[in-house]
Symmetry: C2
Subunit: 247 residues, 2 copies
DNA sequence: CGTTTGCTTGATACGTATCAAAGTTGGTGG
DNA sequence: CCACCAACTTTGATACGTATCAAGCAAACG
């Protein structure tokens, strides 16, 4: 599951990072800033590149920075004392990580782990708090992002509470498609362009690997999905949506 | 389950309402305001009193106001297309309802239903947006409240994903104790001073009435809890916490 | 009072976890 | 290039937890 980490020399890396920071300009969090304010803000941003399967931080760590995803997908995982982990959400470019801990100062309630090589921009907690006070509009964007997350989380609660595994997995696949869907090879279906193990699927839907595998196999046999080099292609979205029980 | 609604005459009601608005001054949302700013803000507040089992709004309604609980407890319920409802959270005095819908303008994602007679203060959506722009500190408090909710929601997801019903119910009881716990009669244990049906418990924990009843009965037989006039008394919190699997 | 609403218990069926074992894949180093 | 190793996938047999269906009971209500 490991990917070849990009091996750029340090001299090549700097321009890449400067580019990453620049790209943040168009991100929801910063789009409301004037050009002048942006020039101030951007000085506090730091760019990082992480290989696949890397922890940005661990559940329980003290909050140090806000992360904004530039590229790649990152999962938020809640660990349990019994070793069974739960993937609460998968986030993509433009989304925030660690806002909760940053604002209330309590330890991170989950771990953040890259699913693929990812570019990330950070702001130190102290700097962010200063910026928020200077540019109150930033906090409105934070509120909107928290909103989005709370809505997703609520829907996940509902699904876990009343749906069975089959419906939960169908839902998860559709959600992943919305996050990182690209046209499949030869234009057939939509491919979820993230390398996910069955274990990941299981942790996203509150079930076990074996059950996740059985359901995915059934989906494959029924022509709903197809495997392709470790990715999943959704072949029949209509039927998946019907299975998920309406969206 | 219905409670006698307070039958105050209109002439008596006005002073009560004025008092409710005044009480908002000490609430997290407004505590950071200066006295001067508060005098401006309070003009936009409206007080209401709802009897038990009353809908503040329905899932799907367009967002019209932000609600701040003055007294009483209110549940947020997510309805499903199959008639099985899910109680996502129970809120008490000082907490906000409807922030999500207010800020992103999308319909309420859940219904809000009073569990007992409740006093509530509202701000019209339009007024709130104006106030937020004038007093940016308000938005920080909104962020903190959203944080709290997201942490709770995440924990609920984990619990639904990996715990069995027994643990989930133990957890739910402990959470309710934190929200509305009072010393039990004769000083024995801690009483959850809300009238909850077994159906409510089931909807909070993603199970059925029958199963909720069986688990609660077992708890009672084992001396963990006790019923008292439609309330639940927690007799052995240590053991409940152990059952819930650590907090 | 009868009626409704909530509580309780029992019998049975189904979905999913668990345990076990073998097959597959991709990467590594000889 | 092949052999090997580790990680991931797959399939089967079995056990357990919980939903479902059914029926009786108690308390509150009009």
């Amino acid at each position: 599951m490991k990917k070849a980490a990009s091996s750029r020399s340090p001299s090549q890396l700097e321009p890449v990072k400067r580019e990453m920071v620049q790209a943040m300009r168009g991100t929801p969090l910063f789009r409301s800033l004037s050009d002048e304010d942006w020039r101030t803000v951007e000085q506090y941003l730091h760019a990082h590149i992480y290989p696949a399967d890397t922890y940005l931080f661990f559940q329980g760590d003290p909050p140090e920075a806000l992360y904004i995803i530039g590229s790649g997908r990152i999962k938020l995982v809640r660990h349990t004392n019994q070793g069974r982990d739960v993937v609460v959400t998968v986030l993509g470019p433009g989304q925030l990580i660690g806002e909760m801990a940053i604002f209330d100062g309590r330890p991170y309630s989950m771990s953040a782990i890259t699913l693929e090589e990812s570019g990330v921009v950070t702001i130190a907690r102290h700097d962010l708090m200063n910026l928020i006070h200077r540019y109150p509009l930033l906090s409105l964007e934070v509120i909107l992002e928290l909103n989005r997350r709370l809505r997703l989380c609520t829907e996940l609660v509902r699904s876990l509470a009343v749906d069975r595994v089959e419906q939960r997995i169908a839902r998860a696949l559709l959600r992943l498609k919305d996050l990182g869907g690209v046209p499949g090879p030869e234009g057939r279906g939509v491919m979820i362009d993230i390398h996910l193990t069955r274990q990941d699927i299981a942790e996203m839907t509150g079930t076990t690997v074996e059950t996740a595998i059985r359901v995915m196999s059934r989906f494959r046999k029924e022509g709903l999905i197809q495997n392709y080099k470790g990715r999943t292609i959704l072949l029949d979205i209509k039927r998946l949506e019907a299975l998920a029980g309406g969206r």
